[in-house]
């Protein structure tokens, strides 16, 4: 296996740079980190990202990087399948597309035609859009939506830039969701009141089996502890909760372990959501990926979304909620 693996070119062996962003300071910073990469000029990021017949699965073994500027819409209303934590005006934005991890259940595999990573470097345009919006109303903004932004911090310090942008803006509340152990990359920043660092946590066996390349539970917990100690607002996300043989015991162990290591009183809130995915994405994943207990599980479909049948979903959410209730007040637990 490893012999075969060695036939792949290293990740980011090629960096595609959109015309017009070469001089952008963030683009230059990113490029300086990959001096050996071939730099290929492109007109538009979609010329590479949206080529027909790309093989996502194979590309994951040798991901390329695309540096571009995002035009047109930069903020989107949060979709119904996502938790808004009781906030009005839920929006998300995508400063990057795709992820350096490869979770088997990740909907990005069905959403994007390519596994390549796109980083949008026109941060000021994004900031301007948010500034305009928060002049009209309070906004709850998820910025790590089609990626794991903190995982990319050593490539492009986007989380830090967004945190500094958000700091002190009363009408803005921001969530950065991650599975990374990359908190040290932003640890030099003072905690911002209106920024929530949200860690997705899964049972150790799920991480090992389905969250390829993502850090193990122990490292995520260590960083959560540090972030809490430094005074950050921390959210715990149990999303997706997956069904598998022995799931009850696995989630008991997970939640037991979390609160044996982390003080529950410091946790801002927690979200719990059963695996769910838009029909079109799952269809594409089923077509393009090899047999998988997650992708090919016989889900029930409701309103264009695939998820577990009502009974099983109820059991999964009920169990995790009751486990959490032993440590957190009910009003801090949000179910999707």
């Amino acid at each position: 296996m490893s012999a075969l693996k060695s036939c792949f070119a290293r990740g980011f062996s090629h960096i595609y740079v959109e015309e017009g962003v070469e001089e952008n300071p963030l683009a230059q910073e990113i490029l300086s980190k990959f001096p050996k990469a071939f730099k290929v000029r492109i007109k538009h990021y979609k010329d590479v990202f949206c080529r027909p017949r790309q093989n996502f699965l194979v590309q994951e073994s040798s991901r390329k990087l695309i540096i571009a500027a995002k035009r047109g819409e930069l903020l989107y209303p949060g979709p119904d399948v996502c938790q808004d934590f009781g906030n009005e005006n839920f929006y998300y934005t995508s400063p990057a597309l795709n992820c350096i991890y490869s979770c088997e259940y990740c909907y990005l595999k069905g959403m994007h035609p390519s596994a390549n990573l796109v980083i949008f470097v026109n941060l000021e345009d994004f900031f301007k859009k948010v500034e305009d919006l928060i002049k009209q109303k309070p906004v709850y903004l998820s910025i790590s939506y089609e990626t794991d932004l903190l995982a990319l911090e050593n490539i492009a310090p986007l989380s830090a830039a967004w945190i500094e942008f958000a700091r002190g803006k009363e009408n803005l509340k921001m969530e950065i969701r991650t599975k990374s152990a990359n908190y040290p990359a932003i640890r030099h920043l003072k905690p911002a009141d209106n920024v929530i660092l949200a860690w997705t946590l899964s049972p150790a066996e799920v991480i090992k089996k389905y969250e390829k390349n993502a850090p193990p539970l122990e490292l995520r917990l260590r960083q959560i502890k540090k972030a809490l100690g430094d005074g950050w607002k921390v959210r715990l996300c149990f999303d997706p909760v997956l069904y598998f043989e022995g799931w009850e015991k696995a989630y008991e162990d997970l939640i037991g372990r979390i609160f044996s290591e982390i003080p529950a009183c410091g946790i801002n809130d927690a979200s719990v959501g059963a695996f769910r995915i838009p029909r079109e994405y799952l269809k594409r994943m089923r077509k393009n990926f090899p047999p998988s207990e997650i992708i090919h599980y016989p889900y029930a479909e409701r309103g264009g979304v695939y998820t577990y049948d009502e009974k099983l979903k109820g059991e999964l959410l009920g169990k995790v909620r009751s486990l959490l209730k032993e440590h957190l007040p009910e009003e801090k637990i949000f179910l999707t």
């Binding site: 296996m1 075969l4 693996k5 060695s6 036939c7 792949f8 070119a9 062996s13 090629h14 595609y16 071939f38 290929v40 000029r41 492109i42 007109k43 010329d47 590479v48 080529r51 027909p52 017949r53 790309q54 093989n55 699965l57 194979v58 590309q59 073994s61 040798s62 390329k64 089923r286 090899p290 047999p291 998988s292 207990e293 090919h296 599980y297 016989p298």
Partner: protein, 277 residues
């Protein structure tokens, strides 16, 4: 299977010898040579000829995603960064006429150089063109047509242009024997690249085998399953195969079952579902 498109016989000859290909008679004006896992077509010069030859080859031989297609030939280099005889794997191919660019996915390691190829509709002599009018590192007359046509059939990591530098775009004719030698000298590098391309597929688990697919189609027919149910059956088979080596033996018993009504079929389908869940 590897498909190779060359423009001229002088480019094809060393490939034919190296892979021990034999001439195949097909009803077309192209010359085709085939071996056990390589088929070569001589397109003749030009973007349209190369596109036609690539399309003909891939449809005539019913190419699949696991196959790959290469355009192998000579090209003129814009400057001396590239040496005569260098084999260059192209990471960008520009069609000069329209400015449209194509990007092969270079996912495997290789020992060639890399560069940008620019395809012109006419033979290029540097002195005839205004300065800075060539964007590519190399110039040819086929690459963009080949790539665009092949993209209709194959994924971008299985379409590649490999160009061997033959000149510096001066008005000096390149002798056929020299062309053959340039290509021949690089064939072991090219073969290594082909082996890497091939191994990419064996690295990933496959979905349903042809036998599995046949069983599922037969079951769907025998049990008079609707389109949706047949689809569900296929998905359940994949779900089962995610944790088992092969489909369960009991499933094959259903191959002998014939149902007389949709309702009977539905009942059988419920039993099949239980086997696979």
């Amino acid at each position: 299977m590897f498909y190779i498109v060359t423009a001229y016989h002088a480019e094809a000859r060393p490939v034919i010898e190296y892979f021990n290909l034999k001439k195949v008679v097909k009803n077309s004006r192209f010359q085709i040579f085939a071996g056990s896992d390589v088929v070569l077509i001589e397109s003749g010069p030009g973007i349209v000829a190369s596109a036609c030859a690539a399309s003909f080859l891939l449809s005539e031989f019913k190419a699949e995603d696991k196959d790959a297609i290469l355009n192998i030939g000579i090209a003129g280099a814009k400057n001396a960064d590239l040496k005569i005889g260098d084999a260059v794997l192209c990471h960008k191919i520009i069609y000069h006429d329209t400015g449209r660019a194509f990007y092969p996915d270079i996912l495997v390691k290789h020992a060639m150089k890399e560069g940008v190829l620019e395809t012109f509709d006419f033979p290029v002599a540097k002195e005839d063109l205004p300065e800075n009018s060539i964007e590519g590192d190399m110039v040819d007359m086929e690459g963009a047509g080949f790539f665009e046509a092949a993209s209709f059939f194959m994924p971008p990591h299985k379409i590649h242009c490999i160009k061997v530098v033959s000149d510096y775009l001066e008005k000096v004719p390149v002798e056929p024997a020299f062309v053959s030698r340039l290509i021949g000298d690089n064939l072991s590098l090219i073969r290594d690249f082909m082996l890497s391309l091939e191994s990419v597929d064996s690295f990933f688990p496959r979905g349903l085998s042809r036998e599995d697919r046949e069983v599922i189609e037969k079951l769907a027919e025998n049990l008079k399953l609707s389109f949706t149910m047949a689809h569900q059956l296929k998905n359940l088979a994949l779900f089962y195969l995610s944790s088992h080596e092969r489909l369960p033996e009991e499933l094959f018993d259903f191959l002998n079952v014939r149902v007389n009504s949709k309702r009977e079929g539905k009942n059988c389908f419920e039993r099949v579902k239980k086997l696979l869940c």
